[in-house]
Amino acid sequence: SSNGSGGPRRLSRALPFGRSHGRLGVSSSGRLIVPAPSSQEKADPQKTAFLLRKAWTLYSVTPLYRFRRGRLRDYARLLGAFIAAEKQKGLAVEVGVELDIKVALSSLADLRGSELDQDALLVQLSSRSQASSKNSEDKVVWSGWFCSVFGDDLSENVPEHFTCLPLFLTHGAESYTSLVGSWFQKTFDCCFRRLAISPLNLSWMVAMWAGCKLDRAASAVELVFSVPRLAQPLDISYAIHPEDAKALWDTVQKTPGEITQEEVDVFMDCLYAHFHRHFKIHLSAAKLVKVSTGIASAQCDGIVKILHSQYLPGVLMLLTELAISQIQ
């Protein structure tokens, strides 16, 4: 059943990322409404600049129990103590250098979509090497942030005392990620899982992002395929001029601001047919593992890089949706 629309930025209820009836469910309409690029007066690009051009590893997180926004400094202190204790136990996080890890937790009000979304939560681990002088700058060694952008399908149905921030993005050493993750799991009874992105979802992303308007010269639209079951693993990289890709998408898309599964299929089929005409290889039989455009890039093992602040909400909305479908 499709949701009666709220404001112009609300999603239609039936989303294509396989949600309606479990993972292999049939999505009833397969249509996605794309939010317009964020207007400047709402978001301060300086605050979110640190998110851009970094490779973020994605996780889905179940709702946090009894998380209180007012206690961020207490949480930071507890997490710092936990990390120090784990280091004492001999879990070496960095070899050879004595590091004091300082933890900072903060809220980011700009990274949300609808009224039901909670403010994003940023966790930063910084270090000051004991060898350097007292006035030296703390160096951020790890950052992670929880967010929810148009995650209403989860937030609407959650019981009291739970905070929904289903998407978790990390940048930094895996050892710190697991330390922070274990602390959150123990403290708020939540569960983290690596977010995988299927080839179907990657093709949605490349179709959406290739169609976005960019004011300056953008990098090529690139798709990377891995060919299964060969003696030597083979990767095929298919690069398309961004203007050609956008021109193709513009001929395919019927309603601006709205994307259907059929349109994504036609777009991808055109790319496959073009490749087959030249190289006699059926890319549709290979596995799409990475897509990158001037807006963002994404890999099947759940690593994304966002390059353009204007389209940040749109990208986060897709990723929130993927995270929610992995939780449910």
């Binding site: 396989g18 009836h21 999505s27 299927s198 080839p199 179907l200 079951r229 599964q261 039989a285």
Partner: protein, 177 residues
């Protein structure tokens, strides 16, 4: 144009003839081996094809086909395209219970390249059941083989009182949401 028809040849005595159609030959091979290992009291012949139409030269040697199974791998959009093209070479009367779609690779949802809605719509459009399975795991491969053998027995007319038309009536799906 060579079209497969269900009743243009005489049936083979005490046999069931199964045709697997799909571009993944290795998977077809494995499934057919598992099918042939099933205990049964009638002969089973499994024919394999990557697409239809079948080569016309050997048509006079081919027995009557009782059940066609179209194999779609959710990891390969290409397999869906090949199956869709092959459907045109099957006579409409085959779709009265003697065709089914087998969707393989469902154990790896994160490698999904085919949209489930498209496959289910295909099943509805052709009035044929859609079975989901994972052929890389032995247990489900054996279970799938057993299901196909049971369907084959009915399609070959070995079960008195039950014909392939029963599959069509079992296809009724309640509208969800």
């Amino acid at each position: 144009m060579a079209v497969l028809r269900p009743f243009d040849k005489l049936p083979t005595l005490n046999s069931g003839i199964l045709l697997l159609v799909g571009p993944d030959e290795a998977l077809q091979q494995r499934l057919s081996e598992t099918i042939l290992q099933e205990k049964r009291d009638f002969n089973i012949n499994v024919h394999l094809a990557t697409s239809l139409p079948l080569p016309p030269e050997r048509d006079h040697l081919r027995p009557r086909i009782d059940l066609i199974v179209f194999m779609i791998d959710i990891k390969s959009k290409y397999s869906l395209k090949k199956v869709e093209c092959s459907l045109a070479h099957v006579d409409a009367s085959f779709f009265l219970g003697k065709v089914c779609f087998l969707v393989t690779g469902v154990g790896r949802v994160n490698a999904c390249s085919v949209e489930m809605n498209a496959v289910c719509k295909l099943g509805e459009a052709y009035c044929s059941p859609v079975l989901f399975c994972e052929l890389e795991l032995e247990d489900t491969r054996v279970a799938t083989a057993q299901r196909l053998v049971r369907m084959l027995r009915i399609c070959a007319g070995h079960i008195p009182g039950v014909s392939a038309l029963s599959f069509v009536s079992l296809m009724r799906k309640s509208d969800d949401d």
